[in-house]
Symmetry: C2
Subunit: 195 residues, 2 copies
DNA sequence: GCTTCGCATTGATCTAGGATAAGAAATGCC
DNA sequence: GGCATTTCTTATCCTAGATCAATGCGAAGC
């Protein structure tokens, strides 16, 4: 069950099968059904999710009832609620867009694993830094790019999500309305754009 | 010279003066003059900056020549270029808005320090997680809030920057034009808003 | 097989904020 | 102190994308 996660780790860092067995019994796998709500805004959570199969999302709902997607997490992606680490309630909701299998990682997993496999620390640091630069790029897009540019960027980043996810969710991730996205797509088709 | 940084660390984690002396000789302090360019887009850098006094910023310049501020770093804030850790050139520029003193932290500082002071690892992890949730909130604002809401949020977050930084830079951080920010401020004044 | 529901598209209209331009007010610089 | 350069404000006009409304359409449920 944890096999794909082991491969994911071993691709990044030198961990033997024995070491993996030692640390992995802290991990649990959980299955979520399609549309299952996983975390509500206001809840306290310290868990991270590593998606084995399926698709999770985190999102907010604003005062007018509109939802804004903060992150998609398809296979091999992480999704974590971080306010819990600081004893604050979650700002966001998490649910499963598709039926999903995910590894639940308790908040102290990295620390405990690092006592057995020291290189977990630099790995953790690298992954967090990667998440930060990823989000900086997104902020830069939101500050500077048009609806069309954002959509093209999205397709490049998540080529397979384009077909898996309803368009209104993509629009919500891009910060535009579904109607606008539909028009952007129409224009692109007219320009003979071919994803 | 490193005194404020020692205090900053000791507030977060149990480090003795002796331990701090052991790790701190890896650190250098550098002074940047007002408007000094520190890092160009395309450069490779693996350095982090901890601001002791003054104010740094990271920003991009888009195809039309407009600048977009990704981050302000006043006293006690970190600013790091992360692409360098992944052998990629920087996406952003860094410069000093005010004359600034900053600690230069080499990329392997945390690892090496953690061998002497193990709690540097969880501290690092906590700080990176904090940066991530901070950026998630910003993304949420950019997706959902009006110009006025973003400005009010900015004032709450950086109360002292409002006076230190020219308004066009605040506008650039908020993703609006300086003219729009001027209008927002006028409206707020009209509503008897008092920062 | 019909109905409902969610999603996508299209058209018409509206609006927040952008672009442009031009003064006014600060600020910096010899 | 006085000139130059930024910065800020204000007014006018403009546009990307939002909103509102109607239609289409495929999949799901019964």
């Amino acid at each position: 069950m944890l096999e794909p996660f082991k491969e994911y780790l071993q691709k990044k860092v030198a961990i033997t099968d024995e070491q993996f067995d030692l640390i992995s019994h802290k991990l649990k796998v959980k299955t979520f059904s399609k549309n299952e709500m996983i975390l509500m805004k206001g809840d306290f959570s310290t868990q991270g999710f590593f998606v084995l199969s399926g698709l999770l999302r985190s999102y907010s709902i604003d005062a007018k009832g509109k939802t804004h997607i903060i992150q998609f997490a398809p296979e091999q992606w992480w999704l974590s609620e971080r306010n819990g680490h600081f004893n604050e309630p979650s700002d966001f909701f998490i649910d499963a867009i598709e039926s999903t299998q995910a590894i639940l990682m308790p908040k102290d997993f990295i620390n405990e694993a690092a006592e057995i496999v020291p290189c977990m620390n630099p790995l953790n640091s690298t992954m967090l830094n990667n998440a930060i630069r990823f989000m900086q790029k997104r902020i830069n897009m939101l500050l500077s790019a048009t609806a069309e540019e954002r959509y093209l960027d999205f397709i490049k980043l998540y080529p397979n999500l384009t077909l898996r996810v309803p368009q209104w969710m993509i629009a919500s991730y891009l910060g535009i309305t579904p109607e606008s996205l539909s028009r952007v797509r129409k224009d692109l088709a007219h320009k003979h754009f071919h994803p």
